[in-house]
Symmetry: C2
Subunit: 439 residues, 2 copies
């Protein structure tokens, strides 16, 4: 992409309304624009990151055997009356009447609707296990939306729903999602720690939150430092095998949010030099809730003995849009964002340090064409800004690899390759740069 043809409205001033660094950087980098309180438009740069995160989430859901569908944003109020949550949900639910005065709502989550879909079609245990997910916009009418996409009202969530014959089978489904989440967040360059959690309005008796450590996080967390070094399952993990050892490994090391923290146990179990009390950002949560929805909504299947039983369910959420904020909170410095490569809007930036100089233009164009042809996502800064502004912009928007091409280096056959993550720089020939980025 040529920057001269891209739409990247970078802000020079720090926006006053932004209280936290991710919100500030997303506004300054031209990633989002607020359209109403807690409702954002995703400008092209932000949209690219959103799509990359969404795709990683999708690939790991698919790998685990979950099936993607897509439920609508609007739902019938009557569906929520069946589960008893319509009245219970409170003012965070956006309630709507259509032209015929039918009561609708903007879905904040989809347990009811997916249960309705399930019960319409599945009648036998033979069609289980089943795990259905979608990635769809949700709305929760927060009293005080803030922190940008971290606590927006309209937000993108991946929510999966598992259906099983009994608790043992449901725990197998739960474990698959647990492992899929470990992989999902690790692929994004995050250390997300599963922590035992309260179940809140979703209900049930088993839940883990996945928490990214960040000093700006919303919750206090207490962990044994060892949890940071646990291995994340590789892409060859066999989801049909017994995943219990992985779950045991991850849940046996102390890690808890302040809501469920047990100070006595923490001090007893964790050596003093390994106790960490910091803050974190929730990026996902998984629930096993048994028959909480299937009983009132009559989602029954015939078991092997022919008797109908309510299915055992779980739900599994990832805050897709919120993840942009969480990643930035975890990956930034004073100059801007430091995107992990897997979610970067562009992997490489080419900065033309003397636009209009025939040799420099030619070298930039050649490298841009070559990298693009090899499938590298390149943003080519071909604008007439001065070099300093180009450096600042590339750092602000967080491009992992930055290639600086100017007349001096070029005279020696060299261009500069900078790595955003650690600021390291090398002078290399264009061919070596290509080899480094493609090899």
């Amino acid at each position: 992409m040529r920057l001269s043809r891209f739409f990247l409205p970078i802000l020079k001033e720090n926006p006053k309304e932004a209280e936290i660094v991710s919100h500030r950087l997303m506004l300054r980098a031209g990633m989002i624009r607020q359209e109403a309180a807690g409702i954002y438009a995703w400008l092209p740069l932000g949209f690219r990151v959103l799509k990359k995160i969404e795709q990683i989430v999708r690939e790991e859901q698919d790998r685990s055997g979950a099936l993607e569908l897509l439920m609508p944003t609007l739902q019938l109020a009557d569906l929520w009356r069946e589960s008893g949550r319509y009245d219970a949900y409170g003012p965070e639910m956006l309630r709507i009447a259509d032209r015929h005065k039918r009561e609708l709502l903007y879905g904040p989550t989809n347990e009811e609707m997916i249960t309705e879909i399930f019960r319409a079609y599945v009648k036998s245990y033979k069609n289980l296990p089943l795990n259905l997910y979608h990635i769809q916009w949700k709305f929760r009418d927060e009293q005080r939306p803030r922190f940008g996409v971290m606590r927006g009202r309209e937000f993108l969530m991946k929510d999966a729903y598992s259906f099983d014959l009994n608790e043992a089978a449901a725990r197998v489904a739960y474990n698959k999602m647990f492992v899929a989440y470990l992989r999902t967040f690790a692929r994004m360059g995050l250390k997300a720690i599963p922590m035992r959690a309260e179940t809140g309005p979703i209900g049930g008796d088993l839940s883990h939150e996945f928490i990214v450590l960040a000093e700006t996080g919303e919750s206090g967390v207490f962990i044994n430092r060892d949890v940071l070094d646990l291995p994340v399952p590789g892409e060859d993990v066999d989801y049909n095998s017994d995943l219990t050892p992985i779950i045991k490994q991850w849940t046996s090391v102390y890690a808890a949010t302040e809501d469920v923290h047990d100070a006595a146990r923490f001090e007893q179990e964790v050596p003093a030099d390994k106790r960490v009390n910091t803050r974190g950002i929730e990026v996902g949560q998984i629930f096993y809730f048994g028959t909480k929805y299937s009983e009132p909504m009559k989602a029954m299947v015939a078991g092997p003995d022919g008797v109908d039983v309510p299915i055992h369910g779980g739900s599994y959420g990832v805050g897709v849009s919120r993840l942009l904020g969480a990643i930035i909170e975890a990956c930034h410095d004073d100059a801007g964002i430091k995107w992990p490569e897997a979610v970067a809007p562009f992997r490489v930036a080419i900065l033309n340090l003397k636009q209009g100089d025939a040799a420099v233009d030619g070298a930039c164009e050649k490298l841009y064409a070559e990298l693009t042809a090899k499938g590298v996502d390149v943003l080519y800064d071909d604008t007439d800004q001065r070099a300093g502004a180009k450096f600042a912009a590339a750092d602000l928007i967080g491009i992992p690899w930055q290639i600086m091409i100017g007349p001096k280096g070029l005279a020696d056959g060299k261009i500069e390759l900078k790595r955003r993550a650690d600021g390291s720089r090398e002078n290399l020939s264009p061919a070596d740069v290509v080899a480094r980025l493609v090899g």
Copy 2:
């Protein structure tokens, strides 16, 4: 994908509520489920087609130089008061009050919001031309939603918005979208004919609808048969070149909806043996509306002379979810859907005609593994249904290539390859089938 692990709730009975064939087939094939009047959930099979259509739309928008972003579904009422459309839009607009009694609406289209985004950042003609698009769910509260996804209330639309300094430049943008639309629909296996159209509530004085011919279509159309044979630009079309000759070629042959049909001109211009009066389905519409939004909303840029002028705009819609219905209306027979390959949910089905027979199971598994490894999208029917039911299901859901593997043929080293489009069948060795599908 193994069918035993997929979620494909095929209906045996014809659903009573479906008045047209596409709606009937989408319900029977387990592609969609109605969740409220005009509001559908996309089950996994339907979702796969939706994503393929969306991706073709995206690739052709990107190729033309348009930039993708994503605006939220909910918008502020005040934004629509600026353009004067809040009161004018009528009962099709879904109006919503949030917990603080702020007036929102579920966007039926995005001219106002994109103009707001544009004016916030773009101040100079030097940043033009600009064409921004998104693919997002919209809501129009139809008085009487029907025909399934063809006239739903919550629907997926691609809408692009161009910004230019003057009318001449805006027409260049319009022409690019015209060509992109020709390519988009052709890639989906459709003959979509651009026809001069009324502008309706979007406004402006230049508009074309893209209409797929189908006897079940909602509008009468009059065309010169020659328009069916016009060439569609290839993927090497240069969007920076003058596209006027392509536009002239397509607009000089008579093609009009009944709304703007000119009977006298039709009879004068079109030889009697080339006059076709049939019906069609609108799948896209493009508009040039000049300063209709930029003037009231003050979207101004400084021209080369330093004087601020309102930009000239256009908008360009594709009915992404509606396209599934349109494609089925154009591509089906009594047995079911006949997906064009580019949008098929799976390109190939393997039908195991004797599940449990070691030789047949082995041959199916081997072929499934081989095709999958080569990147072919395969649905492997490994269920214990009888052969007849498998044939019927594969035809109903419209898989373009069907491979039948049974004990008899296998004894001769042959499997059967059937092409859904024309019903042709061949007996081939497994290696030849692979070569045919991958070659």
